[in-house]
């Protein structure tokens, strides 16, 4: 977990040239929410996009204990491939070099998913406004990343598009802001919705289709040490052409859906039962069906506004 040392410089302040030099040699230490990660890469094609996407993160200078060691290498191969190494081991087969940035981000997801059992780990996007967090637990394809990017560009603080880390016994979500991978049609949706959003390169033909990563807002990265209590749990479902619908649901229904959604519910057992119970007992729980991002963001802002007015 994060050490008590306050990092003093960002990756951007380190500079692109030194960032690349460190990627090639000792590795670059980066603080991602509660994780201290060391990145190494000898894949030149991702140097510049990686620097742009990560320039607001704290640079962890010098020797320290890292939670995750991640490396991308170029194996000998007839076709251009990249090999992901987590703590020196390749967790899967080599993948096309053109997907290197996505491979690195997937690798980070995998490493985090394998070692985040201090928290209840939900497969969920999460954002925060006014000190209260909104979770979007969902499996892939439900539109949680698109919603998350949309809200992060309409006044909400980004916690994560992928991991809802819940500190057990507190109902607090722990931020883990990272580049957000938009897929296929959602790339153009966000280009239209938030022209100011900074996107990385478009990566075609991945196992998830075409991907482009959105740089997390700088303010969210800077505040990544500030947790927030979960106030809303919204189970999203994107459905082409569907009219927008936000329905408050029974807590027991929310409990069972959330328990099914958690990566480590069975591993944590009774502790997870307690944590999910605490969450749904203290939050308002909804199902959201939507097809239009602007409508969904407006409705969720209205929900937060009405709760703000009540408190």
């Amino acid at each position: 977990m994060s050490s008590a040392h306050a990092p003093t410089r960002t990756i951007g302040e380190l500079g692109a040239a030194d960032f690349t030099r460190l990627l090639r040699s000792d590795g670059v230490g980066v603080r991602l929410g509660p994780f201290d990660v060391r990145l190494k890469s000898d894949v030149a094609a991702i140097d510049a996009p990686l620097f742009r996407l990560y320039r607001d993160y704290s640079w962890l200078e010098g020797e320290r204990v890292f939670n995750i060691h991640l490396a991308l290498t170029r194996p000998l191969s007839l076709r251009p491939r990249v090999r992901l190494l987590i703590d020196g081991r390749a967790p899967h087969a080599d993948l096309p070099a053109g997907q290197a940035l996505a491979v690195l981000e997937w690798g980070l997801n995998l490493a985090i998913a394998l070692r985040s059992h201090s928290w209840l780990m939900l497969h969920s996007a999460a954002v925060e406004r006014g000190g209260r967090a909104m979770l979007f637990p969902a499996w892939p394809g439900a539109g949680k990343t698109t919603l998350c990017v949309g809200l992060a560009h309409r006044g909400w603080r980004l916690f994560s598009d992928e991991f809802g880390l819940i500190r057990r016994g507190t109902c607090e979500a722990v931020p883990l802001p990272r580049p957000m991978p938009l897929k296929n049609a959602s790339i153009d949706v966000i280009r239209g919705f938030a022209p100011e959003a900074e996107l990385g390169p478009t990566i075609p033909n991945t196992r998830k289709g075409t991907i482009a990563h959105v740089k997390p807002p700088a303010a969210s990265v800077r505040a990544a040490h500030v947790p927030a209590r979960v106030r809303w749990i919204v189970f999203p479902q994107w459905l082409a052409g569907a009219p927008i619908e936000l329905t408050e649901i029974a807590r027991a229904e929310a409990f069972m859906t959330l328990a099914t959604n958690a990566f480590n519910y069975e591993m944590l057992g009774e502790e997870a039962f307690a944590a999910v119970g605490d969450l749904v007992a203290s939050a308002r729980c909804f199902r959201l069906r939507y097809s239009n991002l602007e409508e969904a963001v407006t409705l969720l802002n209205e929900l937060a506004d009405s709760d703000d007015a009540r408190h």
Binding site: A250, R251, A252, F255, E266, E270, F273, G277, V280, A281
Partner: protein, 98 residues
């Protein structure tokens, strides 16, 4: 399960310390420690497990007790529903046939 043969059996809830309950509005979720499984139960099942089957009961007697608590008639349909519920609770390892 055969309803008619069930009538001769008695059922008893597993020891209370094997489960953890959480009330959520009108419903309940239960964590079953021996299996590590979580179940979603209604108030009737909660009453059967926590109040009625603390001592061995036949399905008919359990249905009578539940009907009395719920203020409904223990007619044949109600007894059949309770009998089916007992079979499900047995399958989940939450009650024993004694």
């Amino acid at each position: 399960m055969n309803t008619s043969s069930n009538a001769v059996y008695q059922w008893r809830a597993r020891p209370a310390d094997e489960v953890v309950w959480r009330a959520l509005d009108e419903d309940y979720v239960l964590y079953h420690r021996p299996s590590g499984k979580t179940h979603f139960l209604n108030a009737a099942s909660r009453s059967l497990l926590s109040d009625i089957l603390t001592t061995p009961q036949t399905a008919a007697a359990a249905a009578d007790a539940l009907a009395s608590r719920s203020g409904v008639a223990a007619d044949a349909a109600f007894v059949a529903t309770v009998t089916d519920t007992l079979a499900q609770l047995d399958h989940l390892g939450l009650i024993d046939r004694v």
